[in-house]
């Protein structure tokens, strides 16, 4: 398969089709409308269903209906639209249906802006909808990874019968990079979808629902869901290490395109004799807590620095992972501003300098 130069939005769309997605229900919103435009043309070519509905509220609920058929279905949207979808995500999680959501994040809150941000971390990982449920969250940092994770998302959604969300900041949607798709998409086997509504022929009629008025049954359902999330924590944690070695003085934790900016900063710091490592979470839920804890506790690490395009959302999970072993600091830009490698470098150096000053024997109270 040739390497194609593709826009992120289009690569994500094509990846979904390669994974066998047969239904796409969408509503336009900047900066991801190109996904809809691409699929309006491509979906009929692969015999799938494309429908632009009247709102994100409507299309997210269409996904419940569509997923009930047992076919692979998905949608893409951006932050304000994802807010509108929270009701449906809660229902989909409660009814244990597989649906893939993609959030091409823009700055918020409210109408916000159209430029990239990472301010939907809480919304994605802690759940914007009501009830005891979680969403498996994937975060690519390149277009190729976006395509790969998109295909994985469908597999995981089916495996766990749970909504899976891939979040990319606006750059992942808008950039163009080379992408390669596999000739044939191979995945591990999955159990048959005997829960799907196919008509009560030759079997008892079934109901796909999330209502359990009996509190004992509802509690049981919530723990059934919880067991899935525990399994995700055991089996699905994914992350990447960059220049992590025993000499690191700082551990940076960053995801998405922010991580790439940090990589540039780390390379430049290395030239200047400062050793910094990066742990890039790929799954934001389940979060790589154990690995962050392990790296943070290394002897030479003075501080853990979270870099995000937000006002410090992932930082709370990093703090929770580090469990007080080392100080956790934050640097970020938001509102749609993307930090530059220089800013990241400066933030890192400032922390080292402060630490060095106090280590030179200043009296501490």
């Amino acid at each position: 398969m040739a390497r194609l130069l593709m826009k992120g939005n289009e690569a994500i769309a094509e990846a979904a089709l390669r994974a066998g997605a047969k239904g796409y229900f969408c509503y336009p919103i900047t900066p991801q409308s190109e996904v809809a435009e691409y699929l309006a043309r491509r979906m009929p070519e692969v015999g799938g269903v494309f429908l632009q509905g009247e709102s994100e509220v409507a299309v997210s609920n269409m996904l419940f209906g569509a997923a009930s058929t047992g076919k692979r279905v998905f949608t893409t949207s951006s932050s304000p639209g994802i807010s509108l979808m929270q009701e449906a995500i809660s229902y989909i999680a409660g009814a244990q249906l597989p649906v893939v959501f993609v959030n091409i994040m823009r700055a918020g809150p409210g109408l916000g802006g159209i430029l990239p941000a990472q301010s939907d971390y809480f919304q994605a990982t802690k759940g914007g909808g009501h009830g005891d449920y979680r969403v498996l969250v994937l975060a690519p940092s390149t277009i190729q990874e976006g395509a790969d994770l998109m295909m994985l998302a469908f597999h995981l959604a089916d495996k766990y019968r749970n909504p899976v969300m891939m979040i990319g900041d606006g750059m992942i949607g808008q950039m163009m990079e080379p992408v390669e798709f596999p000739e044939e998409y191979k995945e591990p086997p999955l159990p048959p979808k005997d829960w799907a509504a196919t008509g009560a022929k030759g079997r008892e009629a079934l109901v796909i629902k999330s209502l359990f008025l009996d509190p004992f049954l509802l509690e049981k359902n919530s723990w059934v869901l919880q067991e899935k999330y525990e399994q995700m924590k055991r089996e699905e944690v994914r992350f990447e290490l960059y220049k992590v070695n025993p000499q690191n003085e700082i551990l940076i934790v960053a995801y998405g395109t922010t991580a790439r900016i940090c990589q540039t900063a780390i390379d430049e710091l290395e030239q200047e004799g400062v050793s910094v490592g990066l742990l890039r979470p790929i799954t934001l839920f389940p979060f790589p807590e154990k690995q962050i804890n392990k790296e943070a506790k290394k002897k030479n690490i003075k501080v853990v620095l979270t870099i995000e395009m937000s006002t410090a959302q992932m930082m709370e999970d990093v703090e929770k992972a580090v469990l007080g072993a080392k100080p956790v600091k934050f640097f970020g830009r938001t509102g749609g501003i993307v930090p530059s490698p220089d800013e990241v470098k400066e933030a890192a150096l400032k922390l080292i300098k402060d630490k060095t000053r106090s280590a030179r024997g200043t009296k501490r109270n």
Binding site: L51, N61, F64, G65, A67, G199, A205, K209
Partner: protein, 254 residues
């Protein structure tokens, strides 16, 4: 009872033999039975999917014996759209009340009808929110007393009741829309004809179909079932005229 005894009216196969949770005299029971009879008569039960609403009839899936989805409030037409588009070979119907269809779900039904989604909607209009205890609905009559308009619906404050059949019929997209009532045997017989026609259009893959069924809610109207039937006849029918508002014509234009 001799051997040549013939049964000329029994419970339809598609209606489970259980006692329902509906109030005495609630016409949901009649409408459920009509739908079940039509599913039996058209032979479509085994490939039917129902979408249950939020409302008194959320438990329709305990009574009608076919596959069901339980929708979020108002979203049944969206659920039906998503399902039917991926399984056009199945018969899909939604069953919704005033709040579900005419209030929170207004956008979903208007757009599904306008897109001409080929499912059938049974809209139960009883001028009140039943399950939540009798609050005002978009279909509550002027001066009708409900728990959230205890002095009666003031049309100068909240406007007149919405006539859904007429509203949806203004769409240029072909569809079948009829309003019926189930408060008397004569009307129930006509209602069944409309429901059968709606499902038949879907079986023929023709168009969107909606049957608005004027119904009673004795409990929340504060009346006996017989008084409620009379009130429906005297007050609701003049405002919500019965009849067919839209038919798909043969040329495929609305």
């Amino acid at each position: 009872m001799t051997d040549s005894q013939a049964s000329i009216f029994t419970r339809p196969e598609a209606l489970r033999d259980v006692v329902t949770h509906y109030c005495p005299g609630c016409t949901h029971g009649v409408i459920h039975r009509l739908v079940a009879e039509v599913l039996d008569e058209l032979g479509i039960r085994e490939r039917t999917l129902g979408v249950a609403p939020v409302g008194c009839s959320v438990f329709i899936y305990n009574y009608i014996n076919c596959d069901f989805l339980e929708a979020a409030h108002g979203r049944a037409p969206a659920f039906a759209t998503g399902f039917k588009r991926l399984r056009p070979d199945m018969i899909v119907f939604t069953y919704q009340g005033d709040g579900d269809l005419a209030s929170i779900g207004m956008a979903e039904i208007v757009h599904a009808a306008n897109r001409g989604e080929k499912f059938t909607t049974i809209f139960v209009n009883n001028a009140v929110y039943g399950m939540t205890g009798g609050q005002m609905a978009p279909t509550t009559m002027p001066n009708q007393v409900t728990t959230t308009c205890p002095l009666g619906r003031d049309v100068t404050d909240v406007g007149y009741p919405i006539r859904m059949a007429e509203l949806l019929a203004t769409s240029r997209t072909p569809g079948y829309i009829e309003r019926v009532a189930v408060h008397s045997p004569r009307h129930i017989i006509q209602a069944k004809r409309a429901i059968r026609k709606a499902f038949t259009y879907q079986k023929e893959d023709r168009c969107f179909s909606l049957v608005e069924v004027l119904s009673t809610c004795p409990t929340n109207w504060g009346k006996t079932p017989a008084e409620a039937a009379q009130w429906l006849n005297d007050e609701m029918i003049p405002y919500y005229p019965l009849g067919c508002f839209k038919e798909p014509n043969n040329e495929g234009e609305g």
